[in-house]
């Protein structure tokens, strides 16, 4: 009886040590592999208004993702997330059709990001945009 309980005690101690060792290895390992945190609240993107082609779109890095700015025929600037809401491909601006095409599965969006056709379940996310003294600020 005494031998059994001692064996059990040692087993529990060894198990505890093994668990502590595993945790001590796993925590730094997972931290090392975890993606670097990106500030998703701040971080505005600014660029001169002249960088937006008159008949095209400007695609840029935005807080770890991709954004796009287009000038509508009315002259109004629109900033949207360029990530297609279907499977995450980057949408392309088609100036002659005045809409966005996702080349992966032919999803189409209006210049304001609303879905026209294809599989995307949601519109493109709108991004806040301001223009002052010829400088565009997104975010």
């Amino acid at each position: 009886m005494q031998t059994t309980s001692r064996r059990k005690f040692l087993g529990i101690c060894l198990g505890g040590l093994a668990a502590a060792g595993t945790a001590a290895t796993a925590y730094p390992l997972l931290s090392y592999l975890a993606p670097r945190s990106i500030d998703e609240t701040g971080g505005k993107v600014t660029f001169p208004e002249t960088e937006i082609p008159p008949d095209g779109a400007k695609i840029f890095d935005y807080r770890g993702t991709t954004g796009v700015v287009i000038r509508k025929q009315s002259g109004e600037l629109v900033a949207l997330s360029a990530i297609c809401t279907h499977l995450g491909c980057i949408v392309q601006w088609e100036n002659e059709k005045q809409n966005f095409l996702c080349p992966c599965h032919a999803g189409r969006f209006t210049p304001d990001g609303a879905v026209i056709s294809g599989p995307p379940p949601k519109p493109l996310a709108k991004l806040p945009i301001t223009v002052a003294n010829g400088v565009v600020t997104v975010g």
């Binding site: 730094p28 390992l29 931290s31 090392y32």
Partner: protein, 367 residues
Amino acid sequence: MSPLKSIYHWLNVRLGVDELVEKRLTGYLLPRSINAWYSLGSVLLVIFGIQVVTGILLLIYYVPDAEKAFKSVTYIMNDVHFGWLIRMCHAVGSNMMVAVLLLHMLSALFMGSHKSPRELNWVTGFILFNLVLGISLTGYLLPWSQLSFWATTVATNSAGAIPVIGQYLVEFLRGGKLVGPHTLGRFFAVHVVLLPLVIGALIGAHLFLLERIGVSTPPFGQKETKSTWQGDEFRHESHPGGIPFFPNYLLQDVTSILIYLAIFFCVVFFSPYIFFPPTAFVPADPFKTPAHIKPEWYFLANYQTLKVFPSELLGLMVQGAAMTFLALIPFIDRGKERHPLKRPLFLACFIGGIILFIGMTIWGHYS
């Protein structure tokens, strides 16, 4: 039957687990007089495993480009969570691997385990030792620091003393006349792909040979220490009445591994820069040689040997002869006696060799 037992039974009828356990673990008998030195091979396997894992992890962030390598290492050290730990484990581990490998070889020599019929075990082990030195040398360049750059310049330059092909060999090693981006590319490929594969294969061969011929009996605590093998036919050395590998010797293996890890983590946590001189923290500058460039501690004896001889070629030849002698020692030292105290000439050479190595290392450090 419990689910675990059911799974075990399912595997057992397909793989013969009971038989494997009996043959390889509980029924695998080792000499009763076996000692802790025999566990250094297991320690080395663990070290190699740690080197492979930390090496793969470093590859995630390391950039093998002369313009970006140093920056990427700095990023690993300063910005990646626990990046310093992974890199320190890899850098300290490489030094520890050489140290433990030296101890493993010295203990095998001291106990006469290299002797017939285990010549092939010694030769594969000796080649492994050289490959580990090679993988350490190639890894040394990768951080692209002043230390890496100039230590590699000096190390590769030594090959130039070889007659006829020397200069071509230097350029072949460097991928150009001088150490540069091409050197980094080839050292990187050799360090992360070629040498790990060759080392892994040779470890397999080393273990296969050990398994085929059997573990040697230590020469201590035995009335008769001479080998009785006649060399006429293959014979697996079994140890009837010996101690089982599991659980008895595995416990010794685990103890040695834990002692090693304790020492290893003491260095990593309390003295991580013991292997890093200040030049290791300065990016490589091909136009500015820093003062007092020295190789790693395990190359200091070679470095000093090159300096004491009037010609570099002579120094290289002496080292080549010494390494050839060590590689062929089981074919030269053919006496059947294995007890070191009954081999006075061997013992004198053994102790003399260690003193010479340590002496030259210290001299090299302070020269």
